[in-house]
């Protein structure tokens, strides 16, 4: 009896739930020209990371300065691929987010061409323009419109474990790749692998090395030509295969976390990674006096120069087109604040990022800051040339194929020539 009543009640409740689910708030409200203006920023930086904390601090600061006029909220999704997918889907539905960050790929301009992004040109006054590198602005200007604001541009340096180097009897970080391969053998003798590599997910740590090999041989345009199938690339792939032999057994099939923890746990002596590695390194090595940072090795007879730096993709800010001019102006104003000298300094030193807006550090700043970070900044600023990492500039189809091709190269099922051919073939 009771069961029957409960069941019927349950049925009714369930059907009612389905029928009366109402619309959620935030959707339509945000666009109305009510004061204060609501801006929602989508971010990939969680609050358990320094960069997330600094960003939230800056947002709070801005909100206080503009109390009653503008309110910025940050919606966080640290799963970067999922976040990017969400942004893309939103754009295709005509609901581009107010502000978001993305990886700029010169070979995939679909977002820019969608017509859904805000053009910053009207808001780009001389003062704001001066904050940026003209080359960056030019890159992000598509069809005469400035659709993104340059922001993050992380350099990839070689972090190395001085104690392990000493143990293997190596004096200094190798300046040429020949030295690197010799050191590789020395490391093996003391039971350590030379370098951490990764073949899973986007194979970031692996493609970093491949990129350095390529630009070391062929200069900054090594993989920017009309075709990837060049003798330079084949040579780079051949050497890449040898580098795999210098890594751990787990490198095959390692994801980023396993590979980076191999370095932190002293199983490998080097890792080529971005500024975000500094935080965990310092936590693990307590002050990091034991860890050094060096530019990549080069080739004695290659077209690359010592100090050439491979970087992650430019990760600029973009904004959805707004129907309200007030809101568009508010968005531009907020981004100007985020790229101001004070904000950039905070984000760089405390957030441990490398940003492309110009950074001015006083001697006092440098003394108080992270030595590894300061070193990376100087590597970045003194680099003769800066080249975006290979995987970030491929066409999406090539980007999807590269990790598995790298695995084939490591396994030996693909010759270097085949690797390059198939990479070129998939890059359409």
């Amino acid at each position: 009896m009771r069961l029957r009543r409960l069941s019927i009640l349950g049925l009714v409740a369930a059907l009612t739930l389905g029928a009366t689910a109402g619309p959620s708030p935030g959707l339509a409200a945000g666009r109305a020209a009510a004061a204060p203006i609501q801006i929602t920023m989508m971010s990939g930086w969680p609050l358990n990371q320094a960069r997330g904390v600094v960003l939230q601090g800056l947002v709070n600061q801005y909100n206080k300065l503009n109390a009653g006029k503008v309110k910025v909220t940050v919606d966080i999704n640290p799963d970067w691929p999922a976040l990017q997918q969400q942004i893309r889907t939103m754009i295709s539905a005509g609901r581009a987010p107010d502000i978001f960050q993305y990886n700029f790929n010169p070979n995939d301009l679909s977002m820019q061409k969608s017509g859904q992004l805000l053009d910053f040109t009207p808001y780009m006054n001389a003062a704001w323009k001066a904050r940026f590198n003209p080359h960056d602005l030019a890159t992000l200007t598509i069809g005469g419109k400035l659709l993104s604001i340059p922001f993050e541009a992380d350099g990839v340096g070689f972090y190395y474990n001085k104690a392990l180097f000493k143990k293997a009897g190596i004096g200094a970080f190798p300046t040429t790749w020949d030295q690197f391969f010799r050191d590789c053998g020395r490391f093996k003798k003391v039971g350590v692998a030379a370098i951490s590599l990764q073949t899973q997910d986007d194979a970031w740590l692996g493609t970093n090395i491949l990129s350095y090999l390529a630009i070391g041989l062929g200069g900054p345009s090594a993989y920017f030509g009309r075709s990837l199938d060049t003798p330079t690339m084949v040579r780079a792939a051949t050497l890449m295969k040898q580098v795999f032999a210098c890594s751990t057994a787990d490198a095959m099939g390692a994801n980023y976390d396993v590979a980076s923890n191999d370095f932190l746990l002293g199983r490998t002596a080097m890792i080529a990674d971005g500024p975000w590695a500094i935080g965990p390194i310092e936590k693990q090595f307590k002050g990091a006096a034991q860890i050094g940072l060096a530019p990549a090795p080069t080739f004695a007879s290659g077209a690359g120069k010592p100090g050439d730096l491979v970087t992650d993709a430019q990760s600029p800010f973009a904004a959805g087109k707004q129907s309200s001019p007030r809101k568009a102006a508010a968005i531009a104003n907020f981004l100007e604040f985020l790229t101001s000298p004070g904000s950039v300094k905070q984000l760089t030193l405390q957030g441990k990022l490398l940003l492309s807006p110009k950074l001015q550090l006083t001697a006092g700043d440098q003394q108080g800051a992270d030595p590894l970070l300061v070193h990376l900044i100087s590597l970045y600023e003194q680099a003769p040339r800066r080249v975006v990492e290979m995987t970030r500039i491929l066409k999406p189809a090539g980007e999807a194929k590269l990790p598995s091709l790298l695995q084939g190269l490591a396994l030996g099922s693909l010759t270097p020539a085949q690797f390059v051919q198939q990479l070129q073939a998939s890059n359409h």
Binding site: L15, G18, P81, Q85, R88, T89, I91, S92, D108, S110, M111, K113, S114, Q116, T199, Q200, D201, T248, A249, D250, M252, G253, N255, V258, R267, P396, A397, E399, A400, K401, P403, S404, L405, Q407, G408, L411, S413, L414
Partner: protein, 293 residues
């Protein structure tokens, strides 16, 4: 039983039909439509006719994914399912503590697939993995290998958790067994049948509906699942563990090739329907119609 008006039937069917229409029929028209179009997720949608289909046929990754998905289904139907049935049969005899066993057997399925995938990712690591560690400890260190990166073992390694964690399948069998009337067993026991004979002649034939359902669920799971290859191997090495679901993910999310992705989606659905048709045919052949139609 004919005493029901069409209206009454329709009334009772409406909620479920609405859900199905909204969440399957409608989205699938999109999938079908996109199979013949090309789209990068943002720009214009362009008609490309059969191009997606020919691309798929000539794509070695897709072929690998297709075959791997079939292998998953075969492993599911011929290893996972019999194993679940065996455990269900053992538990149906109510040995001491059977409820405890049943609950613990369901536990891995209660944990998210992601967590289980991470566990097995670490089990199969080379230097820090549990399997190689155990092999080394018992003197079989020679067998240690990169399980997830050796093309010969990678696929089986990603299937290990699926084969072992039969909780849900077992639960369905147990529920079905519970519907077998008690007097069947009474009669058999009086006739002097052994437990094994009872299982073989009474229980197994009567769980046929559960076999059908489980076959459906297993097929559906194998076609939808992508955490195991995604977390353990990213589909590698060289697509050795790629399955259709992961292929769809990769072509949509990384390669921004929605048309290709949806075409693969259509292929997946067709494969599922084909498998189910075969399963029902086989069950029908084995005697007795499954209870559904």
């Amino acid at each position: 039983m004919r005493t029901a008006t069409r209206l009454q039937i329709l009334l009772y069917l409406t909620p479920a039909l609405l859900l199905t229409l909204l969440f399957f029929a409608l989205p699938l028209t999109f999938v079908g439509y996109m199979t013949f179009h090309s789209w990068d997720g943002i720009g214009p949608i362009l008609y490309v006719g059969l191009q997606n289909i020919t691309s798929l046929i000539h794509d070695p990754s897709f072929n690998k994914a297709f075959i791997n998905s079939i292998i998953w289904i075969l492993v599911g139907l011929f290893i996972h399912l019999p194993f679940a049935l065996l455990i269900a049969l053992i538990l149906s005899h109510r040995p001491r503590g059977w409820r405890f066993f049943r609950n613990v057997f369901v536990l891995p399925n209660v944990i998210s697939t992601t967590a289980v995938a991470f566990l097995w990712y670490f089990v199969f690591q080379v230097d820090i993995g549990l399997l190689n560690g155990i092999l080394g400890a018992v003197g079989l260190g020679g067998l240690a290998r990169p399980w997830l990166f050796d093309p010969h073992t990678a696929l089986a390694a990603t299937q290990a958790p699926f084969v072992l964690y039969i909780g849900f399948t077992m639960l369905i069998f147990l529920t079905q067994i519970s519907t077998i009337p008690a007097d069947y067993y009474e009669a058999a026991r009086i006739d002097g049948a052994s437990a094994w004979q009872i299982d073989w002649h009474i229980t197994i034939p009567l769980v046929r509906p559960a076999v059908a359902i489980n076959a459906l669920f297993i097929t559906g799971f194998c076609l939808r699942m992508f955490e195991y290859p995604f977390i353990m191997t990213s589909g590698g090495p060289m697509d050795a563990t790629l399955n259709l679901s992961l292929y769809i993910y990769r072509s949509m999310v990384t390669a921004h090739a929605y048309g290709l992705s949806m075409a693969a989606g259509s292929a997946t659905i067709l494969l599922g329907i084909a498998v189910m048709a075969l399963v029902f045919l086989a069950l029908r052949r084995a005697g007795g119609r499954p209870a559904e139609a």
